[in-house]
């Protein structure tokens, strides 16, 4: 049975932020966009917020804006919007790859990046690609706007730095520099509409065979999606070779703390994340025979 709640549908961002401010007065107001996570939670737990705030009328948040190298994705832009955007393959290659294996069409048509980030599931597909793009989260409350690096956004399992009255209004990042390879791969228990067992995104920039920039992000192998900074450090500034990549992949896998669940054991996840990190890095560095 779906939980009970009061329903509000603000007509402007200002109105929405005023509603969010109610969170400071003991009323729990939760923003509602695609519902692909929230509806399931409310059905499973039977528990709902005091106020469910439908952000569907906030047209200003559905935009994807490209200015020069910078892209800003409004909080209501859907995964389908990303997948179908003609320039997104240049601005976020791994994110587009991810969007193509993200749930099914109907969920892609409503699910948002902001919702993925706000929910913060460790198995969330889109967070790893965004981490490799050094994405930033734009947070707004009735008083101010602040920007938090996605890399500093999560603090633990489904925990983040957001204040109770804040709303994610946009995600933004800069397009990868020329010559950067940005890749995503997800292992699931089946090919279509699968929950991620291991999700990996990498970005790699090289300068005459030397790694001049690298990001390695991994999902479903810890309490949150995270970057392996140790593995990145193995590669940064070094001449790329297969052996170096093998080492980095090992280091990355060692940073994970995966759990056992119905989909796979932690042991398998640890094994597989190393293989996938390795494979994506070799592919990015064009080191495959």
């Amino acid at each position: 049975m779906l939980a009970e709640f009061n329903f509000k549908k603000p007509q402007s961002l200002g109105e929405a932020l005023e509603l969010m401010a109610e969170n400071n007065n003991g009323t729990r107001v939760v923003p509602f966009a695609g519902g692909s996570n929230l509806m399931l939670e409310m059905r499973a737990s039977g528990q709902g917020p005091d106020v469910l705030m439908d952000v569907g009328a906030l047209q200003e948040l559905r935009s994807i804006t490209i200015e020069g190298d910078s892209v800003t994705v409004g909080a209501r832009a859907t995964v389908s919007d990303i997948l179908e955007h003609p320039q997104m393959k240049q601005y976020a290659p791994a994110l587009v790859q991810c969007a193509g294996v993200f749930a099914g069409q109907m969920v892609r048509n409503v699910a948002t990046l902001a919702g993925n980030i706000g929910c913060g599931s460790p198995a969330s597909d889109s967070i790893a690609p965004l981490l490799t793009l050094d994405a930033e989260v734009v947070l707004q409350n009735a008083g101010e706007t602040r920007v938090v690096a996605l890399n500093e956004f999560f603090t633990g399992y489904k925990q983040n730095v957001m204040r109770a009255d804040e709303l994610i209004t946009a995600i933004r990042w800069n397009r990868p520099q020329a010559g950067t390879s940005n890749l995503f791969y997800k292992v699931g228990r089946r090919k279509g509409d699968a929950i991620t067992v291991v999700g990996v995104a990498v970005s790699l920039q090289q300068d005459n065979g030397v790694c001049s920039g690298v990001r390695i992000a991994m999902g479903a192998v810890g309490p949150m999606v995270f970057r392996s900074k140790k593995a990145e450090a193995v590669l940064q500034g070094r001449e790329l070779s297969k052996d170096l990549v093998y080492e980095a992949a090992k280091v990355a896998a060692n940073e994970t703390s995966p759990i056992d669940d119905v989909r796979a054991t932690g042991e398998y996840r640890k094994h597989t994340v190393e293989k996938v990190v390795c494979r994506l890095l070799l592919q990015a560095a064009a080191l495959i025979d």
């Binding site: 049975m1 089946r190 090919k191 119905v262 398998y268 293989k275």
Partner: protein
């Protein structure tokens, strides 16, 4: 995606065999078809079930007072209200004889035996109120030690669930002399294969609507494969058999999961108690608990073989988990037992099978009915043995195929054509050139599997089916039959058969089906029997009318009856087509002369006595279908992921009635089989369901289908069905999972013995193999 058809002789049909648009398709594609859940009535109540959250417990108390006080709650029924509330779940047969002690409690009295067992029924003015009331029922469940594996259940002193020592069914076969057979063998290969709990995952959860009419007849509109449960329902609620009427509707998928009673008894009780119409719509969560799963089986094969590839002896040991209640488990076990010889000649074979009760979810019918598990084991074993003697799997099979006229393991001769060899060869050829691996970590593998699968029910169940056919004054045709249409085109096929014989087009036929009060009872849509049994009844009924029409036409034109025919709405002399009249004219003549234009026919399957319980020898099934599946896979040796590249199915269907429908069965069976082998598993941990959603129970999606699929359809015209057809509903599924497992083993050089073949099991098997070498 392609299909090719090969026929054995040059029989010409006007309707039969063509890929005609099914009569049920337009309504479904336009959204006009009403399923059982799409009916509403004035004054209708909505109902829900309260289920046990524990798998093994004692119900100490159940307090409904708060729930009952909720405004809008009309009726709450608990086990206490049903002192004799037991529902028999025996196979619905036409013999009226009860065979096994298969009763299960309708609602928990005191003992909870499985997770999700119903404890109370609530009917209220709205579904929301009923759900709210359910949350207000207070109960005290005291956990009891349960038993959750067949091994534990068979241990001395194990908690008792059902039967004696938890054994609810046993079968055995003794044929030839296995000691002599093993003595003659050069190699003896022993392997154990394990299969998992599988869920039907029909898209339409169980649903029904019941009301009591002015004659005190309890009417139930329900999604079911079996309308003849009305007798069992009547006995469960204590009314005469003729006071329960079941009306089906188009069924949103069954696959065996709607073979047992689901919501019918609950609805009958609530409608009888309240005097108002009551609807019950299972949620997907209810559905996981609401019908029996496919049994996990543990099957051990010990095969004796000579160096030149002749099987000399086979010993099979079978253990199945029947879960907390008996349902159809003993019969599923029997089907598995008798299928476990496979399509191979084995002169010396002993089979011992046992079905064991546990506190897991109960298990029952599922497309393939035990034969799938048998095939998964015998076809993997054939590859393992071939590997041991260093022979190709196809060559090894070729040396051992059972041939037309030879006998099954029960000693009964097979009368219809056995085209296993053609099917295996063509399926393998259909794979074409091997695919090149797409990377250094990718390995390609190929596998094949054949089968012998019965169609029709056990011959000692004395299966019958009725059908009525009538011709209207304007030449349109009416077919009436109790057959349920579970999506495979069961009704449309009847229309095609009647149209063929009466010389009209399919769109001139209307078919009324699945109403236990007004359509002649046709038996179940199970066991790949609907076309065989009801198709024959329909054919014989149409044939009776046809013969009267031909006789009258012959008289009209002054020729012999074998010189006239009916086609294209005309009656005519075959060699002198100018001598013809319209069907309408002919009907007007028959009406004037009182010639009977309708016919009710009962078709009887071959009847036999039960097999000898000691040796298992005797007649078991009316007939068997044969075919094969070949699969090519790519295995990622690093992640363990499997991609199905190619699939070729080759089946002898006897005779296609509707080519598109046959292809549909094969394509659907293929993908269901891939799910069985690769991704599907109902996981129970200490009896608790761990996979209660479609994001955890993983049936194949559009992205999981083979990249290429081909259906090769052969027509031996040797089957017992109408026009020589055989059943294809279950055979389409049977060889797929073992062929897939054989392809995976071929790719990676080791075999995973436990289904499903998850990426993790592949990785672990490869690691183990590496450690050993």
């Amino acid at each position: 995606m392609s299909s090719q058809l090969q026929t054995g002789s040059n029989v010409k049909h006007k309707q039969v065999g063509r890929p005609l648009v099914r009569t049920d398709a337009p309504g479904k594609a336009m959204g006009k078809t009403r399923y059982a859940g799409d009916y509403v009535m004035p004054d209708m109540l909505h109902s829900v079930v309260l289920r046990s959250p524990l798998a093994s417990a004692t119900l100490k108390s159940l307090d409904i007072s708060e729930a009952q006080a909720l405004p809008g709650v009309v009726c709450i029924i608990t086990g206490k209200d049903l002192p004799e509330g037991m529902a028999a779940t025996d196979i619905p047969g036409q013999t009226g004889r009860k065979r096994l002690d298969t009763d299960s409690q309708i609602l928990v009295h005191t003992r909870v035996r499985y997770h999700g067992e119903p404890m109370a029924l609530i009917a209220a003015e709205t579904k929301a109120i009923a759900e709210k009331a359910r949350s207000l029922i207070k109960y005290d469940l005291e956990p009891l030690e349960g038993v959750f594996s067949t091994e534990d259940a068979l241990k001395p002193g194990a908690p008792q669930v059902q039967g004696k020592g938890n054994i609810i069914g046993k079968h055995q076969v003794r044929k030839g002399d296995i000691d002599m057979g093993f003595a003659a063998a050069d190699h003896i290969v022993e392997r154990t294969y394990n299969t998992q709990f599988i869920e039907h995952a029909f898209l339409e959860p169980e649903v029904g609507l019941a009301w009591v009419n002015e004659d005190d007849v309890i009417n139930i509109r329900v999604s079911t494969q079996v309308i003849e449960h009305f007798r069992t329902i009547a006995e469960a609620v204590g009314v005469p058999h003729n006071k329960v009427r079941i009306m089906g509707a188009m069924v949103g998928g069954g696959f065996g999961g709607k073979e047992d009673i689901t919501v019918e008894v609950f609805l009958a009780l609530l409608a009888k108690s309240t005097g108002r119409p009551v609807k019950m719509v299972y949620s997907r969560e209810d559905s996981w608990f609401g019908h029996g799963k496919r049994h996990p089986y543990k099957i051990t094969y010990r095969t004796g073989v000579t160096n030149d590839g002749k099987v000399t002896a086979v010993k099979v040991d079978i253990v199945s988990d029947s879960g907390a209640y008996v349902y159809l488990s003993p019969y599923v076990l029997m089907y598995c037992t008798l299928a476990s010889q496979g399509p191979y000649r084995v002169d010396n074979i002993n089979i011992d099978a046992v079905s064991v009760s546990t506190n897991n979810m109960y298990t029952s019918a599922f497309r393939g009915f035990g034969a799938c598990q048998a095939a998964i084991a015998y076809e993997q074993q054939m590859d393992e043995v071939a590997n041991v003697i260093g022979m190709s799997p196809v060559e090894f099979r070729r040396k051992n195929y059972i041939k037309t006229g030879e006998t099954t393991c029960t000693g009964w001769p097979i009368e219809s054509a056995v085209w296993t060899e053609q099917c295996v060869d063509q399926a393998m050829q259909g794979l074409g050139e091997p695919t090149k691996p797409s990377g250094p970590h990718i390995r390609i593998g190929r596998g094949v599997a054949a089968y012998q699968q019965s169609y029709g029910r056990l011959t000692w169940l004395h299966d019958t089916s009725e059908c009525w056919v009538g011709v209207e004054m304007d030449g349109t045709v009416v077919v009436r039959s109790g057959v349920t249409d579970i999506g495979a085109g069961q009704t449309s096929a009847l229309g095609q058969i009647a149209a063929e014989l009466l010389g009209v087009n399919l769109d001139q036929v209307v078919i009324y089906n699945s109403d236990s009060a007004v359509t002649p009872l046709a038996g179940t849509s199970t066991a790949s029997r609907a076309l065989y049994m009801t198709g024959n009844a329909c054919k014989n009924a149409a044939m009776a009318i046809r013969e009267r029409f031909l006789t009258r036409t012959a008289k009209e034109f002054g020729v012999a009856a074998d010189q006239v025919d009916l086609a294209d709405n005309k009656a005519f002399v075959i060699d002198e087509p100018e001598k013809s009249m319209s069907l309408r004219e002919l009907i007007a003549i028959t009406a004037t002369e009182g010639i009977h234009r309708s016919e009710l026919v009962q078709f009887n399957a071959p009847f036999s006595d039960p097999i000898d319980p000691e040796t298992g020898q005797g007649r078991v099934h009316p007939d068997y279908a044969y075919g094969a599946q070949a699969i090519e896979v790519a295995v990622d040796t690093e992640t363990g992921e499997i991609t199905v590249l190619k699939s070729v199915a080759a089946h002898d269907v006897g005779q296609c009635i509707n080519l598109a429908a046959v292809e549909g069965q094969i394509e659907g069976g293929t993908v269901m089989g891939l799910g069985y082998a690769l991704s599907e598993e109902m996981i129970y941990k200490d009896g608790q369901l761990m996979t209660p959603s479609f994001s955890e129970y993983l049936i194949p999606t559009s992205m999981d289908t083979p990249q290429e699929h081909k259906s090769i359809i052969l027509e031996s015209r040797s089957g017992l069905g109408p026009f020589g057809s055989k059943g294809i509903g279950e055979p389409a599924l049977t060889p797929v999972a073992p062929a897939t497992a054989n392809a995976v083993a071929d790719a990676i050089g080791v075999r995973v013995m436990d289904f499903p073949l998850t990426p993790e099991k592949i990785v672990n098997a490869l690691k183990e193999a590496e450690a050993q070498s």
